[in-house]
């Protein structure tokens, strides 16, 4: 099976500080890859590199390649907006843009140029359904999204990405700010979503990674210590450091 995403000898540095050191990883289509490890391990940098969000603000420098369907996303001439539509991103903090629920979800398609009201309605409905939020908000789509609870706002963030009909969804600790019930709903939604999408997630904790991941990669101080099928990583890790982290001896 050809990988959906192939990370090839990828390094990233902010000035003198090395955030990622020669990472090589593959993500198979329709699977969930969990990138886990202690803070400052490079998880966020890797996720943000995958749709080039690292270029916002004061960017660092990278070397190596990230291939999406065999195409280097850093190749000159790559349209960043198109890339970000194919590879959507959900952040740790829920982002409810200051507009209505409908407009929040329709935001991406609108920015892409979709004008037809009925088409937008269809996209919004199916995105909200996939994000397991439709039943809760369907009769108040015209109310401000910021009035929703944190868990609902995070599912709005996911729906906003889904409305773009992307190929890959990146999630950076999407349940970090949420309660256990909201977390369970989001995990449930992700398990459904992998039928259609390829998902890369920096999970909130090891337990979450164990619950949802097909593959897992352990990151420590910018290095990928170990990667492989989740069943193997979480039961028989090859590296001592991975085992120590999973069993809670540090981190």
């Amino acid at each position: 099976m050809t990988p959906k995403i192939e990370i090839d000898q990828f390094s990233y540095r902010y000035g003198d500080e090395i955030a990622l050191n020669t990472i090589s990883l593959q993500v198979q289509p329709n699977t969930i890859l969990a990138i886990f490890g202690p803070a400052r391990g490079g998880k966020t940098t890797l996720l943000r590199s995958m749709n080039r969000l690292t270029e916002i603000g004061e960017p660092g420098t990278h070397s190596g390649r990230i291939l999406l369907d065999g195409q280097d996303i850093f190749a000159p001439g790559t349209d960043i907006a198109t890339l970000r539509r194919r590879v959507g991103m959900v952040f740790a903090l829920p982002v409810a843009l200051p507009m209505t629920i409908f407009d929040n979800v329709a935001y991406g398609p609108r920015m892409r140029g979709v004008r037809s009201r009925s088409q937008l309605q269809d996209l919004v409905q199916s995105a909200l359904q996939s994000a397991a939020l439709w039943d809760e908000v369907q009769d108040r789509l015209d109310t401000p999204a910021q009035a929703l609870s944190g868990g609902q706002q995070q599912r709005i963030s996911i729906a906003r990405v889904l409305a773009l009909e992307p190929e890959v969804i990146l999630l950076d600790e999407p349940t970090a700010a949420l309660d256990p019930i909201s977390t369970a709903k989001i995990e449930e939604a992700l398990m459904e979503l992998k039928q259609q999408y390829t998902i890369v997630i920096a999970p909130h904790n090891v337990q979450q990674a164990g619950r949802i991941a097909d593959d897992a990669a352990f990151f420590l101080m910018g290095e990928c210590i170990e990667a492989g099928p989740a069943s193997q990583i979480f039961t028989m890790p090859r590296d001592r450091r991975t085992e120590d982290y999973i069993t809670g001896r540090f981190g």
Binding site: V95, P98, G108, R160
Partner: protein, 305 residues
């Protein structure tokens, strides 16, 4: 002991400024209100006949109110698009180093004395407008253009702060779903900063409304209701500034009454601005009630920048 002395002295300083505000307020109203009651509020505001030395005397400030409104709106039309553009550029687009250069330069703009602005309007802009569009040159258009520049610092600094205060999660969230930088600015950041931007516009209006010296120099001070942007006009502030030195009796009272109107207008603008920024207590709001013309420009500028 020393601590207590210092805090007492500081308290005293605070008390002095609050007291002076209260005294100014009392004084203006005490001097101006009786005349308004005598002439009648309707007559005072709606008549455009101002003849304080005639027989019978007449005190109507409609022409000045309209002059003030025209000039203020003109300044807003000039200053808001320009100021907003600079604020967006500086907060969102310019590299940090360039933004660090823009800020002090804008602050410098606030430090130029208004008489210098008036001088430039009078000697450079007015002749150019006379030559290009006709009319007397000293006109609403001239004053609006220069005032539009003068209100830039208020608009830029407050709008820029508002834009910078938008959570970066909004920016990331928008960019992450493939919106361009421009779409992100217009669809997300500017709407999110709307209250601060509106407040900056209102404060800019207050500044333009209160401006006296530059307006005296550029507006022609003609006691008439302007029919076009090329006409001369006069404003509430310039009338007070020009006539108070020699006015006496009812004339003097009428100028104070003009001050009351100005005071109320600026008070309304300040309250609106504070409501929009939504972070001001009653006492802070009270300290905003300062009409520039009675108060000296320095204090006004300190407040606005």
């Amino acid at each position: 002991m020393k601590e207590r002395l210092i805090s007492f002295l500081l308290f005293l300083c605070a008390l002095v400024s609050i007291a002076s505000l209260a005294i100014i307020t009392f004084f203006i109203f005490q001097a101006g209100l009786p005349l308004i009651f005598r002439v009648g509020l309707g007559n005072f505001l709606e008549s455009s006949l101002w003849n304080p030395s005639g027989d019978p005397q007449s005190f109507g400030i409609a022409a000045m109110i309209l002059g003030s409104i025209w000039v203020t709106l003109g300044a807003i039309v000039v200053g808001v698009p320009l100021g907003l553009a600079v604020a967006i550029f500086s907060a969102e687009i310019a590299p940090p180093r360039l933004a660090m250069l823009i800020r002090p330069v804008i602050q410098l703009l606030a430090g130029i004395p208004s008489v210098i602005y008036g001088f430039i309007g009078l000697t450079i802009l007015a002749p150019a407008i006379r030559a290009t569009f006709g009319g007397p040159g000293l006109s609403v258009l001239t004053a609006a253009l220069i005032l539009g520049i003068m209100i830039l610092p208020s608009i830029i600094s407050i709008s820029e702060d508002a834009l910078r205060a938008v959570p970066s999660a909004y920016r990331d969230g928008s960019l992450a779903v493939g919106a361009t930088r421009w779409q992100t600015i217009w669809r997300v950041l500017v709407p999110a900063a709307r209250s601060g931007i509106v407040a900056s516009v209102i404060l800019g209006m207050g500044r333009a409304l209160g401006e006296t010296m530059a307006v005296i120099m550029m507006l022609g001070n003609a006691l008439q209701v302007p029919r076009s942007p090329l006409d001369s006009a006069t404003t509430l502030t310039s009338n007070i500034g020009l006539e108070l030195a020699y006015a006496s009796g009812a004339h003097r009272d009428a100028l104070f009454a003009t001050g009351v109107v100005l005071f109320v207008l600026i008070m309304i603008l300040n309250i609106l601005a504070n409501i929009f920024t939504g972070r001001v207590t009653f006492w802070q709001r009270l300290s905003a009630f300062r009409p520039a013309v009675f108060n000296g420009r320095a204090a006004w500028r300190r407040r606005n920048t």
